[in-house]
Subunit: 166 residues, 2 copies
């Protein structure tokens, strides 16, 4: 009449699961506080198809006005999605907050963008940014010195250009 066994397993990431067979099944899952989970900012609305390929969401963080001369948005690119080629008269700063993305400046190879990276696109440098093919990417896009202008939109990024990452 042997009964019983005990399982005690501690899994990474602070998750613990304890099960007592037969009599008292108990599960205890410790998770981080809600505030540390999920995206930092709302996804926002679909970006205009004229300036992007694929599914892109934009949520405005800072509206441009003359005291701060600053415009900022949280931008989420679904896998495969990307901006058109474009440039900024005063440059642009990208702060990657999630996922894995692509970034390319004209004449340079496509490079990866990782969560936590900060990239500066210098004034008038043609570039594009987006998600990698299988993973979404979210970044804060930051335009400063907007009295000089914000953005000049150019051609879409072709599939050949997008798939040139090696």
């Amino acid at each position: 009449m042997v009964r019983i066994l005990v399982i005690a397993a501690t899994l990474a990431a602070g998750i613990s699961f304890t099960s007592y067979a037969q009599t008292t099944p108990t599960a205890s899952v410790a998770v981080k506080p809600a505030s540390t989970q999920g995206p930092v900012f709302p996804k926002g609305n679909r970006a205009p198809a004229t300036n992007f390929t694929g599914t892109v969401y934009v949520y405005s963080l800072v509206k441009d006005e003359p005291t701060f001369n600053c415009a900022s948005s949280n931008v989420t690119f679904e896998p495969g999605a990307r901006s058109n080629w474009h440039s900024h008269p005063a440059g642009q700063i990208l702060m990657v907050t999630d996922g894995l993305g692509y970034y390319q400046e004209e004449g340079q190879p496509v490079r990866l963008l990782h969560k936590g990276e900060v990239v500066k696109a210098q004034p008038n440098v043609k570039h594009w940014h987006g998600a990698s093919p299988k993973q979404a990417m979210t970044h804060i896009a930051l335009n400063v010195n907007t009295e000089k202008g914000i953005v000049t939109w150019l051609n879409p990024v072709t599939d050949k250009e997008y798939n040139s990452y090696r």
Copy 2:
């Protein structure tokens, strides 16, 4: 009679744990991909005690230089920690990326800062920011138009001021 059980545990980026005991109770814990967990930016180094009360970490995101006229840091306040009173000649933008914080402008009551909020401190408005008493707070601090200057540090926030939140 011996009964039996089987444990099959798969630990990976997505952690799942399955236990079969007697009647097959099953627990499945789905965790988000690693990239969406944990803080976005590194914590950085301890902030100077001269300008802060309590434990504060600062990680530089953007170093000030004349092309962008922009300085930005990721700042983490442990519970109870806060900046001194201060002001910015060109104002400051805060983007709260985690936790629950406090923010006060001179002559106004202390208000809560939640994850996802964006706050503008107007030029030369005396203010302070920090964590709430029992929960840490992390924000991106963004100074633009830095050709006008960055910050004027003032007195520490007293316990009476800090505890005035209602």
